[in-house]
Amino acid sequence: MKFNIYDLTSFNQWIDKLLYDNLPAFWAMIIEMTLIGVAFLLFYAVIGLFLVYAERKVCAFIQNRVGPNRVGPYGIFQTIADFIKLLMKELIPINKADKFLFNLAPFIVIIASFMAIAAIPFGLGLHAIDFNIGVFYVMAVSSLGVIGILLAGWSSNNKYSLIGAMRSGAQIVSYELSVGMSLVTIVILAGSMQLSTIVEAQRNGWFIFTGHVPAFIAFLVFIIAGTAETNRGPFDLAEAESELTAGFHTEYSGIKFAFFFLAEYMNMFIVASIAATIFWGGWMPFHLGPIFGEWTLGFNNVMDYIPPFFWYIGKTMVVIFIMMWFKWTFPRLRIDQLLKLEWKYLLPINLFNIILMALIVLMGWHF
């Protein structure tokens, strides 16, 4: 393998070796886990705060407004102020709620998103767990959040919440199919479910280019279904503030509400990360394949000077921006139309697309 200046693998191995050499294996493992956990927590918080800010700014510009501009320069500390406010807010106890499940629900939602983020490769050597079933794991874990939403809706003992939770359940069960299928399309092309292998396979061109037509269709389907899975507009039926006031989190306040809020943004980040990783090569810089000729070598080298982490973040942000763009443009769908979109359009197209991709891989028609 070619030497890469931004490869953090050796750094990680050095820390690993240092710990295991000097400490008993058990404690070394504990410290390692703690370190990774703290790093993820920090990353989680920073990304969460940033995404809230970004969403507010993006929607403000779309809507001819300035957006947050009071707290700090350009309002960059606005979300921190909001977060402090949410921390200090009273947690309103609901008399007739199922107390245990009511308190448990936000944690389930946030843990689900936390677990999913662990398997995502952020850069060369920045990869907490590299499963051989990485894609499968991320899909499975990220859909666990719906349990939290259902619990929240049910245990709030509020009619709006229950309707919202039920909608969310129907929605996620249906759209999980499309998310899975569209990823399977790429798994066929990549021949592996391991995320690191998938990224590595895109060294000579991202899958969205090498897989051309079926990969592009799969990408579109994934973006639509992924937006639906994160309960974001135009698929925000579970919250649907003009119909159900706030849907499943009507009764939540303070930090518990913040958990739902943060989890929603993190789910968006996870979906965008998967889209960037699977279709756009994750941290892999933009490379041109050898079919374009010898000169691409120089171009690829130039691209390599941009650190992989920035590639990854940049791609993810582009996907996130597209999702925000959706939300701030479209009206909300109705529940039957939501299901119609899935079962009448996305799923048949997806199934056809898998066959097409299989055919292309079989015949070697991809780049």
Binding site: C59, Q63, G233, I335
Partner: protein
């Protein structure tokens, strides 16, 4: 509030009753719908109004005719100028005062600007009801110049009280004509954007087409007027059929559809914006010179009798009924507010559709709650 306590005997086993409102984002104010649901399907909607009943009709019995006008502002605050006009026209007709032509023209232009501003705000709010949050800001952005025009001429942005019996409070501002002309040019460019963003959108089409039907017979019988009624084919435009002010001098189309679903109520309003622009364009260059008010006595006493005046407010027919005993206060004043009648048809429209459709239907009726409660 006995209806908050649910009586188990009267409720069907499968029914699920939720209260939409009085504090709910889609009721646009303090209105409460008691909705019986079966799953997501609406079985029955019962509107409960009166949360902001202020007794305006009772207050009017102790106010002079000049003073009544500022209360009519506070009913349908989005068509404040038109409501003012109704009272003024009633007093003028009762006293048989001929107001100057200039006043008629200015009143008509201001009425149409009010209608435009009202329909713009409706467009924003309708988009919000359906979850397209961006429409709100585009609509308000385009409404702002109209409010500026109002502010410059009348001194207030929303509750203008610019009409007085016999004329206007003040002459139009010297900038008025130029500003209105500029605005028409500006808005003619922006209005197609509304269609691009929302009207053509496949999601909106799916959400509103074939939803919330109101037949012509029902529209007439329920007295659903304004764009909501005209979407069902109810030719109820007072401007056309009982012209007042300068409406007999302008050429405009009464937007009529026959289908009567939510989308056509939407479409009727958007098309009415174009018609309003047309009316203003015809009048703005031809405002005759003259006085801004007719000679009026300081104390107005209507001759004994019953008077009724109908005008076309932004949401439908607005009527003022005054029973005078020859004093300076009316003996009885009644306001026929368009929203009150429009609201009564909501059960007919929403029953059998989804709860999300109820939001779309009540949005398409463009309810203004103070107008219902009065």
């Amino acid at each position: 509030m006995e209806d908050l306590i649910l009586d188990n005997n009267t409720i069907q086993e499968e029914e699920y009753i939720i209260n939409m409102g009085p504090q709910h984002p889609s009721t646009h104010g303090v209105l409460r719908f008691k909705v019986s649901l079966q799953g997501e399907t609406v079985l029955n909607v019962q509107p409960h109004c009166g949360y902001i009943h202020r007794g305006i009709e009772k207050m009017c019995e102790k106010l002079t005719y000049q003073q009544i006008i500022h209360l009519t502002d506070r009913m349908d605050y989005l068509s404040a100028h038109i409501n003012n006009e109704a009272v003024c026209l009633l007093v003028e007709n009762a006293l048989q005062i001929e107001v100057p032509e200039r006043v008629k023209y200015i009143r008509t232009i201001l009425s149409e600007l009010t209608r435009l501003a009202s329909h713009q705000l409706w467009w924003c709010a309708f988009g919000m009801d359906l979850g397209a949050l961006t429409t709100y800001f585009y609509g308000l952005r385009d409404r702002e110049p109209i409010l500026d025009i109002f502010e410059e001429t009348t001194g207030a942005r929303l509750l203008q009280s610019f009409n007085t019996p016999g004329g206007l409070m003040n002459d139009i501002h010297p900038n008025f004509i130029k500003r209105v002309k500029d605005y028409i040019v500006y808005f003619r460019k922006k209005l197609p954007e509304y269609d691009e963003l929302l009207t053509g959108n496949v999601i909106l089409q799916e959400r509103t087409n074939d939803v919330g039907f109101l037949t012509l017979e029902d529209a007439i019988s329920y007295g659903v007027t304004g764009p909501s009624g005209r979407a069902s084919g109810f030719a109820c435009d007072i401007r056309k059929h009982h012209p007042y002010s300068a409406y007999d001098k302008v050429d405009f189309k009464e937007i009529l559809y026959t289908k009567g679903d939510t989308f056509h109520r939407y479409k009727a309003r958007v098309e009415e914006m174009w018609e309003s622009l047309k009316i203003i364009e015809q009048l703005i260059d031809n405002i005759p010179d003259g006085d801004y008010t007719a000679k009026m006595k300081p104390i107005i006493k209507l001759p004994e009798g019953e008077y009724y005046q109908r005008v076309e407010a932004a949401r439908g027919e607005f009527g003022v009924y005054i029973l005078s005993k020859g004093e300076k206060y009316p003996y009885r004043a009644k306001f026929r507010s368009p929203n009150f009648s429009n609201l009564s048809a909501i059960n007919k429209m929403a029953a059998g559709y989804k709860i999300a459709d109820l939001v779309a239907i009540s949005g398409s009726l463009d309810l203004v709650i103070p107008d219902i409660d009065r």
